[in-house]
């Protein structure tokens, strides 16, 4: 927290105007009784004191529909479509920032996905410190996402009348160049910052009964748990959990021909491992036919398999899936149930064994 800057809330409108000259701006906008990340031009359109946006920031880097190739049916045209508008996302919560590291792993490791990379390289993040829990379902504290990740651009902390701005990258620092209404943070600011920060931690509850570093092992020993069948009975297989998930990246690719029948787009669209037929092959074999198997696959991918391949859990504890699930299946319930059953079974064994 050295070399931080301070901007007064009354100057935010001017800063946003300043940034809007060179960037497409995206921020949390009220929508019905919720919030969505959307394009805005004026500070009055957004509310930085928002709980959590309905859809996570993956919609900026991996939109629900993203054109990949523009093609001509008859003229042999085939051109990649790359999004390269300079963009600033203002107001990202730290859980959503952590999710980007997970998406980076999916799209920038191994073969590089140029479509994702182009959006990623052209987007800057002005994130926001969470000072109170945004949802009864969030377990960011358990997942270690309540603080900024190693890489960020600019990070704001609300000090009441001002925001203190932590500078995480050169690209972030450049967003303050040429804007006069910011000042260097002084001793009083740092003192106030420390006070606000040290008060926040106790506001956030731990919601997992198992330590998150222990989750891969918990799952490894519970592949055949009856819990999956029990959950499979409840799960409706609707895929809402994966759609609202900030780290879920599975997609389908679809061709669309326009009315002329000469030109068209090959685009990708969010897909879900929870949907029937996700693993169905042309020959007719479905490799994950039951809801129980598909739900287990989701949990294993999030909390074990991706940890093995990337070191990162594919979950940031934002709680969106829990909120979206109409069958009320939540990660807290699943992980805590497995943990409680493990504890109960260990106790049972201990009591049964002759000493």
């Amino acid at each position: 927290m050295k070399n931080s800057m301070v901007i007064s809330k009354t100057s935010m409108k001017a800063w946003i105007e300043h940034l809007g000259k060179d960037f497409r701006l995206i921020g949390p906008k009220p929508f019905q009784d919720r919030y969505v990340f959307g394009e805005f031009h004026d500070a009055a359109e957004i509310d930085l004191n928002y709980p959590a946006a309905m859809l996570p920031l993956k919609k900026i880097l991996l939109p629900q529909r993203e054109d990949l190739i523009a093609f001509g049916k008859t003229n042999g045209k085939a051109e990649p479509v790359l999004e390269n508008r300079p963009t600033i996302v203002l107001g990202a919560h730290t859980c959503d920032l952590h999710a980007i590291a997970s998406l980076d792993h999916a799209f920038l490791e191994g073969y590089i996905d140029q479509h994702y990379r182009s959006r990623r390289e052209h987007t800057l993040w002005i994130s926001l410190e969470c000072l109170e829990p945004c949802s009864e379902h969030a377990f960011c504290k358990d997942m270690g996402t309540l603080v900024t990740p190693d890489k960020f651009d600019l990070h704001l902390t609300d000090l009441g009348d001002d925001y203190v701005i932590d500078i995480g990258s050169e690209r972030g620092a450049a967003l303050l160049h040429g804007f006069d209404a910011v000042r260097e943070a002084g001793e009083d600011d740092y003192r106030q910052f420390d006070q606000v920060m040290s008060q926040k931690w106790s506001c956030f509850p731990y919601r997992l009964e198992v330590d998150f570093t222990d989750i891969p092992r918990l799952l490894a020993t519970n592949y055949r748990s009856v819990l999956w069948d029990e959950l499979g009975e409840r799960c409706l297989g609707c895929g809402a959990c994966t759609l609202v998930c900030p780290t879920c990246f599975c997609f389908n690719v679809i061709d669309e021909v326009d009315f002329s029948l000469h030109e068209g787009k090959r685009y990708r669209t969010w897909d879900s491992c929870q949907l029937n037929e996700f693993a169905l092959v042309a020959g007719g074999h479905d490799f994950r036919p039951s809801r129980a198997e598909r739900l287990r696959h989701r949990f294993f991918h999030k909390y074990k398999n991706q940890v093995a391949t990337s070191g990162l859990a594919a979950c940031v504890g934002c709680g969106r899936c829990a909120e979206a699930c109409i069958a009320n299946i939540t990660p807290m319930e699943v992980l805590n149930s497995l943990h409680r059953r493990r504890v109960a079974s260990a106790r049972h064994k201990q009591e049964a064994s002759p000493q």
């Binding site: 073969y111 599975c250 389908n252 897909d271 020959g283 398999n305």
Partner: protein
């Protein structure tokens, strides 16, 4: 339209296919056609046996298809055997020589043929599994001196569904290839073996420690063929039994998520696996 390039994988987008041309196509059965394909500007596919390409037609879609020609016989062309099962493959069947198709690849790991050299080769493909197996069989036959015995056990449901019949009769005539073919349901003209592929195993003796088995077929076939190959059958070591797994390899580059088996992307880490590699992977063979 597409900038000059030297490798099929250097494109401005992972998802941008090269415009390839069909040089020849001919029916193998009612359902399968064999395509000979040339990449633009004399480019070579540089594939390994067991790899696949993503074949696409703009406006219809894209699907993973195994390369069925061996690198040794490919040069600047390669071959695909396409079964008509869906929208894309039906459209492919309606094309003519000279028509263009989109190709991305080659993708997947392929069989590690360099580790097979010096060994006896036992191939056990079933049905359409002969197509990917053929890329390896022909490579082995073109390097015949580097291998011991070559045994091919091939099963199809019906004589009319046998693929590559001309090649089968060539292999039949060779004295350095032991070929056994069976069909589940014979017709009036069929004079060969009758029964599922596992019935062919009793016809052969193998030197188990020195044998590599390669089996390619539908999931249900693996369950029974593995019994014949493992301890209770021929006694071939788990690491010497190779399979090619079918999954929905939609993107081919480990991004779209459809072909995941636990932590494995079939399209990147496979589709060729030894039984030792996957026997403990839940979801792989279940």
């Amino acid at each position: 339209m597409i900038a000059a390039q030297t490798s099929t994988l250097e494109t401005a987008s992972l998802y941008l296919p090269l415009e390839a041309r069909i040089l020849d196509m001919r029916p193998l059965t009612q359902l399968e056609k064999l395509y000979t394909i040339a990449l633009p500007e004399g480019m070579s596919l540089n594939h390994r046996p067991g790899q696949f390409v993503e074949v696409s037609l703009f406006g219809i879609g894209e699907a993973p298809i195994s390369i069925c020609s061996s690198p040794s016989q490919s040069g600047n062309t390669f071959q695909l055997c396409v079964r008509r099962v869906g929208e894309l493959t039906s459209a492919l069947h309606r094309l003519e020589p000279g028509d263009s198709i989109g190709i991305r690849g080659p993708f997947g790991n392929g069989f590690p043929i360099e580790r097979f050299r010096g060994k006896d080769m036992l191939f056990a493909p079933g049905g359409l599994g002969l197509a990917p197996a053929r890329s390896l069989i022909n490579q082995v036959l073109d390097e015949r001196g580097f291998f011991g015995r070559v045994i091919i056990l091939y099963g199809a449901r019906h004589p009319s569904e046998l693929l590559f019949t001309e090649e089968l009769s060539k292999w039949e005539k060779r004295d350095d290839v032991e070929l056994h073919v069976t069909v589940d349901r014979p017709d009036d003209n069929w004079k060969g073996n009758v029964g599922v592929i596992t019935t062919l195993f009793q016809k052969i003796q193998v030197d188990a420690p020195n044998t590599i088995a390669v089996t390619v077929g539908p999931p249900v076939m693996y369950r029974f063929v593995l019994v014949e190959l493992l301890g209770l059958g021929k006694g071939i070591r788990e690491g010497n039994i190779w399979l090619s797994l079918e999954r929905r390899m939609k993107c081919g580059v480990g991004k779209c998520g459809h072909c995941q088996m636990n932590h494995i992307y079939t399209c990147l880490d496979g589709p060729c696996f030894s039984y030792a590699q996957i026997r403990h992977v839940e979801e792989a063979l279940s």
